[in-house]
Symmetry: D2
Subunit: 214 residues, 4 copies
């Protein structure tokens, strides 16, 4: 059986009725990336549910890679996140809940770097005409929360599962509904960006394999 | 013979080797818009040449509409310009020339409004999922210069030729080459935006016609 | 009797309880600028009132210069406006009123340039360590409205009265109350900026006088 | 003898000839903050020197608090940094050197949270009319580098020394020299911001003391 790559996206939030990070999943599901099979999952925008959901997904899918996607309306390019932090803002989720504590997981590290080759992904995207940059903050809302939980849980699980997060811009359809000026990227290009990112990840496994003499 | 719509774009400038306002012309040339034929022309980024070039185009093409396009790298959406002003910045063109005077045409009005239905174009674009806004400044570089010349010359010519200017965002391919963060829009969507704008213009003629009992 | 300079500011609007463009007036009122006396007036943020108020002020004060000030929260520097346009947005004023027409004064020009030496003011401010730039749009709200009315009325009156508009940033006190990130400038520095602007204007009169052999 | 607070700033860099983070030190040096004495030090903008310099300062000053300051030209408000990361960008320092490795200290944690009450400092500043926000990224240049080194070294030293970093905006004098639009804050207000931050820190010690029954 093929090894699997888990790609997650989020439900709409904050008054929008669409979220391209969720919409792109259907375009990726089942795809083969260098011998790995893409499996997708939609995450709720709820502090109380996301951690358990990710834990269950890790158990069920046993992914070699978890790449989570989230919407960063306002950012003009694909941002590949470098670091997840053990911190939440006092912001309401879709259920109207504000997390009681600022710390996500007591006793965990303050920050975890992505274990995906973030800089190489940025380079690969730009080489293909997709605006991209390395981002040093995934914020303190549910995107960072999911990223931190995945990073912590997989580290606890031995670290074989590689973890990363990509923030995507709004789509033009979403931006056209907003009253303020919001940069955008077509969903097709976003899909292609995720695919290039995953190919870069899989290629990095093979390079390591070569070096290690597998 | 069909009446004609003149769409102009610009050559690359400022260190870029592409300019989507010029690249989109080939996708529009020869198109029929509600019975009008699109004719296109590429303008040089040169203070000394643009006015004569527009004057010659008006004479040769005798367009019912002039819609000029220009690149506004940094703006995230289609911006439909409201006003052209009789003013230039002290900036070098592609020939390295800075215009001697700040005034474009001595004795002309300080400003001319577009004679296209700018607000309706913005609405039509947004309704079709294309981020767009009304812009109150076309700057003081060659975009405003071309817009002002076209507005002045057609007004002198009796005003039957309607004139407008649309600033377009960078394309993803262009943004991916820049070192700083630049919002972008796909060339295909830009082309569609220009088409919707022109359809809105032609429709406004017909509405006026209806009202006037043609 | 000394000739007079009229400086206007605005009442608070849009949910703020302070407006530095009004607050600065008390610091300027009565000041002597190169032999001219500064007179100040606070304008209401109301479409229906501003034009009559400016007309009355011109009659009563008979100013040699009108410099209107307005708040542009979000702009980081002093912006010296180049042009007023004959156009209003569909935005509510403090009385909850949206203007019926987009045109401010039927039959007036589409745009009027400031008759103050805007570029020289920008240079003088920067030379004194005050961030400043020439702005090509005063927007389409009450700032542009007041600027356009003053420009039109004084032109109708023969043009001896010179007219300009300066947008000022939020103050730190105002910015600290906002939820979003807003750049700011100290009220003392704003006051100094207006003073430098007025000195530059008065000096330009004297230069013209010298040249003309007065 | 009084316990000490170490405040550091940086030399000018990146083409500027002033750096307000260094200029403010003279205004703070020797000040008493709730019984603590402020000691200041200017850091070089050099990858190869900063870590040793901080190590030496900790040894010599034995500070109860290290608050480092750095310039973030472009940010409009005081930003109190939440987290230092074990990462450097490939950027030249004042000596023209790019660090060989992306990792600052091998074997250290990926991220360290500030041990100052960052959220309380932000609140205290805003209450005093100083625009401020919590920042989730100190970047990957020498500011983050100094912050990370101080956080790591003091943690190794037992954690009694509390560590934080504040990014300050450009001053108006600096912004007025730039060609692009840069928000600013007066040096006097920046000085007051640092003082309020330090008072908040010292007060937090006393609160802890009270609770612990000292």
């Amino acid at each position: 059986m093929k090894e699997r790559i888990l790609v997650t996206g989020f439900e709409p939030f904050g008054g929008d009725d669409i979220n391209p990070s969720g919409d792109v999943l259907a375009m990726l599901d089942g795809m083969d990336i260098g011998g790995y099979q893409v499996v997708t999952a939609l995450l709720p925008v709820e502090w109380g549910t996301v951690k358990d959901r990710i834990e269950a997904l890790i158990r069920e899918v046993q992914p070699r890679v978890i790449l989570s996607l989230g919407l960063a309306a306002g950012r003009p390019e694909i941002s590949v996140e470098k670091v997840a932090i053990n911190y939440t803002s006092e912001s309401k989720d879709n259920a109207g809940v504000i997390p009681e504590k600022r710390t996500i997981i007591e006793g965990a590290s303050d920050g975890y770097f992505t274990t995906l080759p973030a800089e190489e992904i940025v380079e690969a995207l730009r080489a293909e005409g997709i605006p991209a940059k390395l981002s040093l903050s995934a914020g303190a809302y549910l995107c960072n929360y999911a990223f931190f939980c995945a990073a912590h849980l997989t580290k606890q699980g031995g670290g074989r599962t590689k973890v990363g997060f990509i923030h995507i811009p709004a789509t033009p359809e979403l931006a056209a509904k907003r009253k303020t000026s919001v940069p955008s990227m077509d969903l097709g290009r976003i899909k292609r960006a995720v695919e290039i990112a995953l190919r870069t990840v899989v290629k990095s496994f093979q390079n390591v394999g070569d070096e290690e003499g597998f």
